[in-house]
Point group: C2
Chain length 211, copies 2
DNA sequence: TAAACGAAGCAACCAATGGTTAGAACGTGC
DNA sequence: GCACGTTCTAACCATTGGTTGCTTCGTTTA
């Protein structure tokens, strides 16, 4: 006896796809390669997923949920100062993108089709919640007299985050080492974003994260 | 009598490609569409250009030269304060990317093949010079006691610039209007990057540019 | 004038790819 | 054991980037 064969194969497919996507990137992997790795015909993949992007989205959705719950925890942690929270939140997002390289295009995609399927909608809601967390984390750092700049600051923060992630993803490398470098940079980004003359002191060797 | 027919056709091809690339983006345009627009067979394109990316590169190179000479002029303009120079330089780059959408991937590409052809090398040198100008413009704004942070600040500036351009390119829109919005944002970015409490005053309505 | 040559140009072709279709194999309930 | 729905695949299709071999045609040269 065995569990429904389809379920097993679906996991096979996602494992194979995850392996190939993360090592070669979404665009360079073909459906046939995924199928070969998963041990089935590429046709079978289309039974479970509408198309290649749907496969990526369905793989990515649970990971986005994990990310969102991480960010929620950070949002609720009463010990953190707002800037530290922003730093940690940023590092979570960066870690997510570096380790789930192809998931980045789901997280940061902006061209959403006109009509969304339920699954696309789920994914989209998740993204909204995640970006909402980022927004909170940025705005939580602002004093009352800066509130009128909140939206602009948030957007600029996203530019930095997005640009940094793009820069680290494009020449693929070891994610762990990249994350280490990115962590130090994002600390500086937050310093700069929040202003203040102390941002120019040599950075205290702060290793608040296991990265 | 007429000029060498090949030359004319080469211009036809680049015009057709420019039109299609800017309206649909590099990836969505096929060589056959370019050929049809140019009024020749797609085979002919391969007589002049090694492949699709070579076509884009050869089209983009003269534009990069224009950009570089613009930036040189700004670098030499003695009237500008360093922050104003950085603002203008940034706006030139943004305008370039918004109006030459597909050229952006040449400008910001980081994965350079191991062995470069002469033309690739030319293009690469141009890119280096352009980024050198940006670096100068950033570093020119820093006081002596911040010099040790120069490289980090430059990188973060690039993240912002890159992220902003990505964000404006992805949902394609009217470049002129996008440039207007991006201009205001980059002013804020420069304020933030250079720090100082005055960066939080409501922005003076500065329209130093025709954009 | 005519043969030779080289460039300009194209139809036909190829391999790879994302995606579809018709039908085979197989387990399950009646 | 038979009908039915699910799982799965081989064969197929259209599109794409890119190649090959051939034709056309203006120019040079004898």
């Amino acid at each position: 006896m065995r569990v429904s064969k389809g379920v097993v194969t679906k996991k096979n497919i996602e494992d194979a796809a995850a392996k190939l996507f993360s090592s070669q990137g979404f665009n360079r992997v073909t459906m046939r390669e995924i199928a070969k790795e998963a041990g089935c015909s590429h046709t079978l993949i289309y039974m479970h997923y509408k198309d290649k992007e749907d496969l990526l989205r369905q793989m990515t959705c649970p990971l986005l949920e994990q990310l969102e719950s991480m960010l929620s925890e950070l949002a609720l942690d009463p010990v953190l100062t707002p800037p530290d929270r922003l730093r940690l939140v940023s590092k979570e997002v960066i870690a997510f993108c570096l380790f789930q390289r192809s998931a980045t295009m789901i997280l940061f995609q902006s061209a959403v089709p006109v009509a969304l399927t339920e699954e696309q909608e789920d994914c989209d809601k998740l993204r909204s919640r995640i970006f909402g967390r980022l927004r909170e984390a940025v705005i939580g750092c602002l004093s009352a007299d800066r509130m009128d700049s909140a939206q602009t600051l948030y957007r600029i923060y996203l530019f930095m985050l997005h640009g940094m992630i793009m820069s680290f993803l494009d020449p693929p490398g070891d994610p762990t080492e990249q994350l280490y470098r990115a962590s130090r940079l994002i600390d500086r980004c937050v310093d700069i974003l929040l202003g203040g003359p102390e941002s120019w002191l040599p950075p205290s060797i702060q290793k608040s994260l296991p990265y």
